[in-house]
């Protein structure tokens, strides 16, 4: 198989038809202002509510269930690690699909459907717990205390790193390059956990932070000691975003937008005709995209400081949850077909990690069902609906927060700049999918 220059898939989705872009943008605009003008004036999601699930709580908290889940996940990673260390340096090696599709894209549905499953079964935590047991130290206790203000800032840097690996790193689908990145990930996370205790993993692992951030929109949520089936909007509203959460979301949104941006003819020609190295362009472009999201959102949210009684700098973190539905919409629009088709390919090659004709899980003989590509209009429809739908839910979350944080008579004016910023993200997202 010929290795594509960019990413692991040899096919991208067709550009969004321009009519979809216009209709989507108009819908986003109309619905946004309709919500602003007509929606509730008093907070509705003050309490998470939801249905308690005592049975499920008991099962999930059972030590054996936890152990089995952790061992299974750890074994999956070990199997992928075997492919990485001993497998062939070909695109048929499942490690590439494992990292770029199963982990990076798969964590989204896992976190939405299963809540904090990723955090509960993170193999980094298992490895560190094992090491701590051998050394007979408390895994929670490090040599130093991580300052509380650190929040998830290290993970924001890690997400930029992964975005760079996914979109800029030359030869990213070769074993030598991937091994180096995986080694760096393991060393930074495990050493850090030894120094700062397990809290470091929750602060610095880009996958866990991405997963547990998206899990704020899950229908399953632990409230106090109990699992509950909740309204995702109410659950998201209850999220206390840690310091650095805005940077995490900006890295997610910015890198996805940059992925689309690099597919525009303008970008390809500019980079290819330039004498500067492509990695320099890529690094600069990715950073610029993330900074644009970070600054525009922070300014839009800080505007609320004029109307509320908190300092302006407090608002970005209070409001950042309302960007999560937009992140989700972007991810669905960009990666849904990749997860469905390349996810299957990975499952097939997962049976034969070393390329020796094994069929360990019985999947090696299965074919990839790529019939989804025969429905480009349906794909485009899903993409446009994901972007606009994410926007609508984002606006609803922002409105809810605004009426809770600002005096009622000023809530509408206060959230207007943020609303415009979000409309900007949505129109940009649609336009980038049109990919001129």
């Amino acid at each position: 198989m010929l290795i594509p220059l960019h990413g692991i898939a040899s096919r991208r989705d067709l550009p969004l038809p321009f009519s979809f872009v216009v209709v989507g943008a108009v819908l986003a605009l109309v619905i946004s202002f309709a919500i602003l003008i007509f929606a509730w004036r008093k907070p509705r999601f003050h309490y998470v509510g939801g249905h308690p699930l005592p049975g499920l709580t008991a099962v999930l908290d059972h030590p054996i269930v936890r152990l089995v889940a952790r061992v299974l996940v750890l074994a999956t990673y070990a199997w992928a690690g075997l492919a990485m260390m001993a497998g062939q340096d070909l695109l048929t090696n499942p490690i590439f699909g494992f990292v770029f599709v199963w982990m990076w894209v798969g964590l989204v549905p896992i976190s939405l459907l299963l809540g904090q499953f990723w955090r509960a079964t993170n193999p980094l935590r298992a490895i560190h717990r094992g090491l701590s047991a051998v050394a007979r130290v408390d895994p929670e206790q490090g040599l130093l205390t991580l300052p509380a203000g650190i929040g998830v800032w290290p993970a924001a840097a890690g997400l930029f790193g992964f975005g760079w690996l996914e979109l800029v790193q030359p030869d990213r689908t070769t074993l030598a390059v991937l091994r180096l990145w995986v080694l760096a990930w393991l060393v930074i996370l495990i050493l850090g956990a030894i120094v700062f205790g397990q809290r470091w993993i929750g602060a610095a692992d880009p996958f866990e932070v991405y997963a547990s951030t998206l899990a704020q929109m899950s229908i399953f949520r632990r409230v106090g000691d109990q699992m509950k089936l909740v309204n995702p909007l109410a659950g998201l509203n209850a999220w206390h975003a840690p310091p650095g959460a805005t940077a995490v979301v900006a890295a997610l949104l910015g890198s996805t937008a940059f992925d689309s941006f690099t597919n525009t003819t303008w970008w390809i020609q500019t980079v290819q005709d330039s004498t500067a190295p492509a990695t320099l362009w890529g690094t600069g472009g990715l950073l610029t995209m993330i900074i644009i999201v970070f600054v525009s959102f922070s300014l839009g949210a800080a505007w609320m400081g004029r109307y509320g009684n908190r300092p302006a700098t407090a608002y970005p973190r209070l409001m950042v949850g309302s960007l999560l539905p937009i992140v989700l919409g972007y991810v669905v629009a960009h990666y849904a077909t990749l997860l469905i088709v390349e996810g299957q390919r990975t499952a097939i090659s997962f049976s034969d990690p070393l390329g020796r004709g094994w069929n360990v899980f019985g999947s090696a003989e299965m074919g990839v069902n790529s019939a989804i590509f025969n429905h480009p209009t349906a794909i485009a429809m899903v993409q446009a609906c994901a972007i606009v739908g994410g926007h609508v839910f984002g606006i609803i979350c922002a409105h809810e927060k605004a009426v809770a944080l600002l005096p009622p008579e000023r809530a509408v004016r206060g959230q207007l700049p943020l609303l415009l910023v979000m409309i900007g993200y949505t129109c940009a997202g649609l336009f980038l999918l049109f990919s001129p």
Partner: protein
């Protein structure tokens, strides 16, 4: 809430919805026209090298008619490709012909799903290859040696 205020709101929203419908109607009316005209990029004019244009290249027919082959003339010279990253519309099942001249040995890869298509190019000798795309999607044709995208084929 006063009655006049709610009326004003109603009017505002009705106006916005009407605007939205109007705009969507305009674009859907405009769409077929955009599709009917062949993209200019389909056949870049003669290669820029030295003026001796290859005579074997057929004139480019309407690119979106599946009965005609889509011909793409590619020049690879001085570390650059012409065209460079252009988007070209093509029909699923339509024959795509590549005419490649290069000043270095190269391979042109068309990532068209499955194993893909590969065309070996020898320096100074025009190479010709053809393939068809089986299902809809957006596919890159690349110079393997330069690691640059020549064209992106949007197959519908």
């Amino acid at each position: 809430m006063s009655e006049s205020a709610s009326k004003a709101r109603g009017a505002l929203v009705c106006g916005a919805v009407a605007l939205g419908l109007l705009m969507s109607a305009c674009t859907s009316a405009a769409e077929p026209q955009a599709n009917a005209s062949p993209p200019v990029a389909a056949s870049p004019s003669a290669p820029s090298s030295s003026g001796e244009s290859p005579t074997s290249i057929p004139p480019s027919p309407p690119s979106l008619n599946p009965d005609y082959a889509l011909t793409i003339n590619v020049t690879i010279a001085n570390g650059k490709t012409i065209p460079s990253g252009e988007k070209i519309n093509v029909r699923v099942g339509q024959k795509v012909i590549l005419n490649v001249t290069s000043d270095t040995d190269d391979e042109v890869h068309a990532h068209i799903g499955g194993p893909g298509y590969e065309l070996q190019v020898t320096a100074g000798t025009p190479a010709k290859g053809e393939f068809t795309i089986d299902s809809p999607g957006s596919f890159e044709v690349e110079s393997h040696h330069l690691e640059k995208i020549i064209v992106i084929l949007n197959a519908r």
